[in-house]
């Protein structure tokens, strides 16, 4: 039965090998539902490629291609231009990369593809660490998170640096549509994918996804924890359309970060002093977004 306009067709089949409660698999499933049949997917190396394509099996009911870790934007560029050469301008090309592939190793490839203006949607599924290789810190890892390369040490309490603001860096390329969303609101996700695919050029969606083993949560908590991140302003759904920032659900009342942090094993080591610093960091970022809500922050170069 079609639930409130969600596509009944499945393009990411069940039976893949993702963990129970994997929010990234859920995100992909619903992004593909929004994109529909006339879509080609390019994927960076990461959990999703591993769990979905153990040769000779595949979970993909759409044409799907994977080459390496840092180059999905370049692969998608080649696919896009080849399709155009064959007159298939209306076929969607979606590139998926995790936070490692998008924020770090594939950053140059992404920037190059944005600058060249290919018509494709890049989806960065962000679970805030290199989960596929065993939970190492990435440029997207939240401060103080305990990872295997930023451990909760006696001297250094987890990740030392802020989270790289990738959607803003992407928006600074002057592309028409950038959005940040999560799997807590599938209609928001659907709307944003549909908008992004209408752009005649590059578009970008940042999707916040929890990770059961990486965040040290229960499978049943994977959606709840993302809701909590929104309630305390750590994760903020927004769009940057033609350079104008729009917060999709500004909070009437913002909760402190304590409950969000205490719900996850990756933050269980933080001290009250650490929590104060995290709260200050979140306040600063949230206030920046509120202050700029509705403002034109970037040029729109690719019309």
């Amino acid at each position: 039965m079609a639930i409130m306009g969600l596509n009944e067709d499945e393009y990411f089949a069940s039976g893949h090998r993702a963990c129970a409660g994997c929010a990234e698999a859920l995100a992909i499933r619903h992004i593909l539902k929004a994109a529909g049949k006339n879509t080609i997917v390019a994927h960076a190396t990461g959990c999703m490629e591993v769990v979905s394509t153990p040769y000779p099996e595949t979970a993909w009911k759409l044409p799907w291609v994977h080459a390496a870790f840092q180059n999905v934007s370049a692969v998608a560029s080649g696919v896009r231009e080849a399709l155009n050469a064959k007159g298939q301008m209306d076929t969607n090309v979606i590139a998926f990369g995790g936070d490692g592939a998008s924020f770090d190793i594939g950053f140059a490839s992404l920037s190059g593809a944005l600058e060249r203006g290919h018509k494709f949607l890049y989806v960065a599924t962000d679970n805030e660490a290199y989960m596929n290789t065993g939970i190492q810190r990435s440029g997207a890892t939240f401060p103080y998170a305990n990872t295997t390369t930023s451990p909760a040490g006696k001297v250094i309490h987890g990740k030392e640096n802020p989270k790289k603001p990738l959607p803003f860096i992407v928006a600074a390329h002057g592309i028409e549509y950038v959005a940040s969303t999560s799997v807590t609101n599938l209609f928001d996700l659907k709307t944003k994918v549909e908008k992004a695919l209408k752009v005649n050029g590059p578009s970008f969606i940042h999707v916040m996804v929890s990770c059961v083993p990486g965040w040290k949560i229960e499978p049943s908590q994977s959606i709840e924890i993302l809701r909590k991140s929104i309630e305390c302003g750590i994760f903020v759904p927004y769009e940057i359309e033609k350079g104008i920032l729009k917060l999709n659900q500004p909070l009437k009342e913002r909760k402190p970060v304590d409950d969000y942090l205490k719900s996850q094993g990756r933050f269980k080591h933080v001290t009250p002093q650490d929590i104060q610093k995290i709260q200050a960091y979140v306040d600063e970022r949230y206030n920046f977004l509120i202050e700029n809500n509705g403002k034109k922050l970037f040029d729109n170069l690719y019309r």
Binding site: T39, N71, G78, R80, K86
Partner: protein, 382 residues
């Protein structure tokens, strides 16, 4: 285009040939000395002389990746690089061949840093010889032009389905102007039909490309590539003859070329443009009554073992001129030649030469023959 003879650089000869092969997508990143190739192709695209889209990628890694993407989507494509550019592509090189995409890439051979050096040797492409690409080395600009046409035909043979590197010596060929016969488009079309892949990304018939292969299937992927390499050995011979029939030019048997070997006692093995110098040295030595010859190896991968055994069966010893050394071992070609001739009575000596653009002169090659005659060990031709 009607057939005509022009005086152009080796790089332009490559670009002219690529144009006639009608690729649809051209991912390009400039690096000396291959840069003239993307420059010429850009002129063709921006002047509407070729119906292809340039992808001005931000790195060689992305050039190889976009090449991969274009072939995944089922169109003919091309790129060119050299030196550190090829090294930067390294990760994608075996991924493209394992995907069995019939890509063609020109490599304007230049050494790899360090120290940084822009001049010619073969350390860039020789370092990629184990990665499932066919490697054809050329001696002249005409051979560069012709080999591009043959490379697409070879790569796209269903029993081969492997990518091809066409290697031309940086500067010595890429930047040197020589007369080149450009063929008629109609004849090229006859020689190289349209590219019609069986499998590609198609929304009406979804397939998965680039899955993860566990230990229970990984070896079979490589075994199939090796089988395809053996098929390529045969196809190269056939295509060489087909090319002769169509265009009346021929390069040995396609794999190797025997030069003055009939009565020779000593020979050197050459790869690429140094063959021209060797031809002069042999001509002069023969005037002095020396029984010397040259074996030019065109196909480094697949390596023509049987042809080499046949070509060397009456020789006393051979010297291999290597423009790349596998440090701690031997020259790359020396290793292959020794392996091919293992169990025969032919003595093989390796000579490392021309690294980082050091001249290989006629005199140096004459010294190699002198060394072979005396039965001395091979050495570095400095």
């Amino acid at each position: 285009m009607v057939a005509k003879k022009v005086v152009i650089s080796g790089a332009d000869a490559i670009a002219e040939a690529v144009k006639m092969c009608k690729p649809k997508v051209l991912p390009m990143y400039p690096i000396t000395p291959s840069t003239l190739i993307p420059e010429k192709l850009s002129e063709f695209v921006f002047n509407g002389e070729i119906d292809a889209k340039m992808i001005h990628v931000e790195s060689e890694h992305s050039a190889a990746s976009a090449l991969f993407g274009a072939y995944a989507a089922g169109v003919r494509s091309f790129t060119a690089t050299a030196s550190n550019g090829l090294a930067y592509m390294h990760e994608m090189i075996p991924i493209i061949s394992a995907a069995r995409f019939p890509a063609v890439m020109a490599v304007a051979n230049r050494t790899i840093s360090g120290p940084i050096n822009i001049w010619n040797d073969h350390s860039d492409s020789m370092s990629e010889r184990d990665q499932g690409w066919i490697q054809l080395y050329v001696e002249s600009s005409q051979e560069a032009f012709d080999t591009i046409l043959m490379a697409y035909k070879l790569a796209e043979k269903e029993n081969v389905s492997l990518p091809v590197m066409v290697c031309l010596d940086g500067f010595y060929l890429s930047h040197v102007f020589e007369p080149v016969q450009l063929e008629e488009q109609q004849s090229v079309d006859k020689f190289l039909p349209d590219y019609k892949p069986k499998d590609y990304l198609d929304v009406n018939s979804p397939k998965t490309f680039g899955p993860i292969a566990f230990p229970n299937s990984f070896m079979e992927f490589h075994e199939q590539e090796e089988n395809a390499m053996q098929e390529a050995l045969k196809e190269i011979l056939t295509i060489n003859l087909e090319f002769k029939k169509q265009f009346n030019r021929v390069y040995g048997d396609g794999l190797i070329e025997e030069i003055e070997l009939a009565d020779a006692e000593y020979a050197i093995v050459t790869v690429g443009s140094v063959t021209g110098t060797a031809r002069v040295a042999v001509e002069e030595l023969r005037q002095q009554g020396k029984k010397v010859g040259v074996i030019k190896i065109k196909s480094i991968r697949p390596f023509p073992k049987e042809e080499l055994i046949k070509a060397t069966k009456n020789l006393k010893s051979i010297g291999v001129i290597d423009k790349h050394v596998s440090l701690g071992s031997d020259g790359a070609v020396t290793l292959d030649v020794k392996s091919a001739l293992y169990g025969t009575s032919v003595k093989v000596e390796g000579f490392i030469a021309g690294l980082g653009g050091r001249d290989i002169t006629v005199e140096k090659i004459k010294k190699v023959f002198e060394c072979l005659e005396k039965g001395n060990k091979g050495y570095w031709l400095k």
